[in-house]
């Protein structure tokens, strides 16, 4: 009997053990993916020093004002990182955010407006002016913020709910102040629950003009946005007509506010004169190639109006900007199959810093695997093999030169956006850049591509480094760049229900 019982015991337990082998790891994965109802980004994931010097203090200090970290060293709160409060504003803008029905293409969709319209008003400034924006939340129930996409503003003005401020609740206001030092085309959008907010139209353009006289030709902002399934330019379907005389040169500032890259092509020759606000050095004419503008990115094009008719610039198939006074060709010109390669466009120029001086070398490897994020099962994006919230916190010190290798093995394109900094592309798939310095704040990292980028760590604070396909970001494709010695008093979640993505 003993031997019989001895052999029957395992028989009962084998299926139970086998079940535990499956269930226990799944439960553990589920449990470890859950996040508290309020947490600091400082507690997320793990510090990555990129081979550079490590701090002697704990990173997770948690600021009130000048709090002490666990080891007794002072961490300064990022709320100190503001524009000089004593300097008067040169440009004042009041923006009121509201939940509203948006009429697009004969339909109404649930969306948002700023001062009663979407896109919101274009903010214009001249280089060096101090811009002050008073954001009032009239009726956006989840709260709202404004992020100045592409402008390297002081950290406390960056508009990321739960990282640089609390979401602005209904009836409250928040004042943003920044000096418009960077000439070029930028945009602003809510960075609270950003995917539905941006989809719904909580966005607008921001243009910084150089000092001095402006060129005589038309200067046109073209905000491309898809409301529901309807593509628009500046909130309207179809064509945006721009009056211009033959021979004049128009500057088109194209902003892609969608989650996906957008093809751009024209029936006339054009030049790509600026990328993400930075001028291209000696751009050449583009004739039979199309451009691919990544999500969140901006291209400034110069188009000469032909002697007869008008130049037609397609922003995807569905929308176009038509520049000229003559009758435009009604039909969509064929989309060139070849895409302009920015790696070799224009001619080299000085970068202003030396990437070879880099003291940190980070990896941002994007993958995809099944698992749990915030307790939800599914297929999710990984950063360096880890699922959110176990993502790297890239740690730097002010003044350092940083190199980052971004690699996409996830099967889907990702528009990577680093807040507060502009990065320069050194190489793609191991091929060095040979054209104009290719400065970006939003980089299209296509499937199986790898980019080596470099930047100067010259803007202290805590900065998001995430995918600007905002649906992906909401699924956890977020990391942060943090400067040693800085902490945030804000929390994801909490009473303000901060949810940056």
């Amino acid at each position: 009997m003993t031997s019989s019982r001895g052999r029957r015991v395992p028989r009962v337990w084998v299926p139970v053990l086998a079940t535990l082998v499956i269930v226990v790891p799944l439960t553990w994965m589920w449990q470890s993916s859950r996040v508290p109802s309020a947490y600091s980004v400082m507690d997320m994931g793990y510090p990555d020093y990129g081979g550079g010097p490590q701090p002697s203090t704990s990173l997770a200090g948690h600021a009130g004002h000048g709090t002490l970290s666990h080891t007794g060293h002072t961490m300064a709160p990022i709320t100190d990182l503001v524009t000089d409060p004593n300097r008067p504003a040169d440009v004042r803008v009041d923006l009121t955010a509201a939940s509203a029905g948006v009429h697009v293409g004969g339909r109404e969709i649930a969306g948002f407006t700023l001062n009663g319209s979407t896109p919101g008003p274009t903010i214009s400034a001249v280089q060096g002016q101090l811009v002050e924006v008073r954001l009032t939340n009239a009726s956006v129930s989840d709260g709202v913020t404004l992020h100045w996409h592409g402008l390297d503003v002081p950290n406390a003005e960056d508009g990321v709910a739960g990282v640089t401020q609390d979401a602005v609740p209904v009836g409250a206001e928040f004042i943003y102040r920044f000096v418009a030092d960077q000439v070029g085309t930028y945009w602003y959008h809510s960075h609270q629950i950003s995917d539905p907010h941006v989809r719904g139209g909580l966005l607008g353009a921001l243009v910084v003009h150089p000092r001095g006289e402006r060129p005589s030709g038309p200067d046109v902002v073209a905000v491309a946005h898809t409301y529901g399934s309807t593509r628009t330019v500046n909130g309207r379907t179809g064509e945006l007509r721009v009056a211009a005389r033959p021979g004049e040169t128009a500057r088109l500032r194209v902003i892609n506010t969608d989650n996906q890259p957008m093809p751009i092509w024209s029936d006339s020759a054009y030049r790509l004169v600026a990328i993400d606000g930075t001028d291209v050095h000696q751009p050449t004419m583009i004739e039979s190639q199309r451009l691919l503008l990544t999500a969140g990115g901006r291209y400034d094009l110069e188009v000469a109006v032909p002697a007869s008719g008008a130049a037609r610039v397609q922003l995807s198939r569905a929308t176009a900007v038509v520049v000229g006074s003559g009758r435009p060709s009604a039909s969509v010109p064929p989309q060139p199959s070849s895409v302009l390669d920015l790696l070799s466009y224009g001619t080299p120029a000085a970068l202003g810093f030396e990437p070879a001086r880099a003291v940190r070398h980070f990896d941002y490897r994007i993958g995809r695997r099944p698992g749990f994020v915030k307790g939800r099962p599914g297929m999710f994006w990984t950063v360096n093999g880890h699922l959110y919230p176990h993502v790297p916190m890239y740690v730097v010190r002010k003044g350092e030169v940083v190199i980052m290798d971004i690699e996409n093995r996830s099967g889907v394109v990702h528009p990577m956006h680093l807040h507060g900094h502009h990065v320069v592309v050194l190489s793609r798939n191991g091929v060095a850049a040979t054209g104009s310095p290719w400065w970006v704040d939003s980089l299209n990292v296509d499937v199986d591509e790898s980019y080596e980028i470099a930047f100067e760590a010259n803007n202290p604070g805590i900065w998001m480094d995430h995918c600007h396909n905002l649906e992906h970001a909401a699924d956890g494709m977020i990391a942060h760049l943090m400067y040693e010695g800085w902490d945030t008093p804000y929390r994801i979640g909490g009473p303000s229900r901060n949810q940056p993505e």
Binding site: A18, T19, Q260, P261, A318, R368, P377
Partner: protein, 157 residues
Amino acid sequence: MRMVYKVLAYVVAGLVMVQAAAIAFAQFGLMAWIEQGGTLDAAAMQSDDVSFTGVAGYMIHGMFGEMVIPIVVLLLLISSFFARTTGAVKWALIVVVTTAVQVTLGLLADGAPALGILHGAGALVLFGSAIMAGMRAKATGAPAEDASTEPAAVPVS
């Protein structure tokens, strides 16, 4: 538990049929919509309200393929441990592996469309394995599910 195993196996087969039906519905719906002047690009595809007959097929295919079927298949594997049917675990494992391959192919095919060929063929393999699993449970006969009434499989010495 054998009945649970059997039902889950047939549920997997049924879900694979739903997958095939959903994707065909979506594909024909899309074709008809484009014929009638609809335009689709990446931004529209990701938006919440591209509306044509069959568009739900894409959503169903993605949700069932990435979530529902893997969960049911794991339950099938767990039930196989208790099913006490010769080959139950083996067939459940075949279903698990085939499902894993299918999910992987489905995701990779976004970047390498030729893998879609294998994904389509793999569906038939998965369907067949799930049916085989279900039929094994039937073929073995049906001793009572309660372990206490089941004859001991080991000789009593």
